[in-house]
Point group: C2
Chain length 196, copies 2
């Protein structure tokens, strides 16, 4: 059965974006520090070999993406193709219609009627593959709505000291089960199942 998996790179102090995160400086000062494990800045490509390669390959094997609008816009909608495979759709959660330029990206679909709808559409598109979920706001809405199945944290060995946190206040405690830990020098990848 297909799972929705929030996958985020997070500093040890809980930040997913560095200080001074704004539209002209997406992700904040030195944002790339959190993504070195999976993204080669020199070659501008995902790493699919080496210590983080197994984890990145797993992400790229998902069948759909659910993202928040902020995350999508900061990444320029991934050039219209998150996975770079020309076929995996990305469902972007927003209260407002997209910028007109998004019409050039047939794989990017805005969803304005809530996280349950976005997740249902993504699961339908993914079939028996998992759904890759990104974005702090989206994660919190998905947890609250009970439509998030797993959390994969790429715990990066750095204290950013400030920025945007992955987890803000939630309405209640959520128990998790550790289902896998991958220990590499660049990151500790911990996969949790959300218990309900």
């Amino acid at each position: 059965m297909s799972s929705s998996v929030l996958a985020m790179s997070m500093s040890v102090d809980g930040y997913i974006a560095a200080p001074n995160d704004n539209p002209s400086n997406p992700g904040g000062d030195g944002f790339s520090r959190l993504h070195e494990w999976g993204f080669d800045p020199d070659r501008q490509t995902f790493r699919t070999s080496g210590p983080g390669g197994e984890v990145m390959a797993e992400i790229l094997a998902t069948g759909a993406v659910v993202s928040g609008r902020r995350t999508a816009e900061q990444a320029n909608h991934w050039g219209g193709d998150h996975h770079g495979d020309g076929k995996t759709p990305a469902f972007v959660l927003s209260h407002r219609p997209p910028d007109p330029s998004v019409a050039n990206y047939p794989l990017v679909k805005y969803v304005t009627d809530g996280i349950e709808s976005a997740m249902a559409q993504a699961k339908a598109a993914a079939g028996d593959r998992n759904v890759h979920v990104i974005g702090a706001y989206t994660a919190q809405r998905a947890i609250e709505a009970g439509v998030l199945d797993e959390v994969l944290i790429h715990q990066i060995p750095v204290l950013l000291g400030g920025g945007r946190r992955l987890f803000e206040v939630l309405p209640s405690r959520v128990e998790l089960e550790i289902i896998r830990v991958i220990d590499t020098p660049d990151a500790t990848h911990i996969r949790y199942r959300i218990l309900r």
Copy 2:
């Protein structure tokens, strides 16, 4: 060479105390959730066997404790004997003199002249053994003062949803090096060296 090691149990969302943490409810609602891996609530003792036993044995092998006042007072100064071995001193960082009752605890020593002094006294007492550091406020002061060598996070598979965070804002980024990961069903114990 002896190291100062901050060792704290933390939820995946970064909390070390649960919501409604106050003197009459120390650690907040369900605080013990974060400590089950290392403390047996039925027997009221540290676990020294089982999956978390190796980590707890390491903590109990340290030669001195440095703690914040809040942490110490909430734990009733550990009955005067943090390790329960009748000999390991605990240095409590505070701006004010201790409550008079602390005079009954010869192993508990208040330090009012700053974290550098507390750490120096603890390292001298510990000899070639490590120093066990606890408390969020103390941790941040020690990082800022450059007197913390390692961070050992017991990452607990739960989202508490609120409470007190281990890491608030720091003045600058701090790079860490992963030196060991112990993967158990109850917690992921990640040990980092602070790089300077």
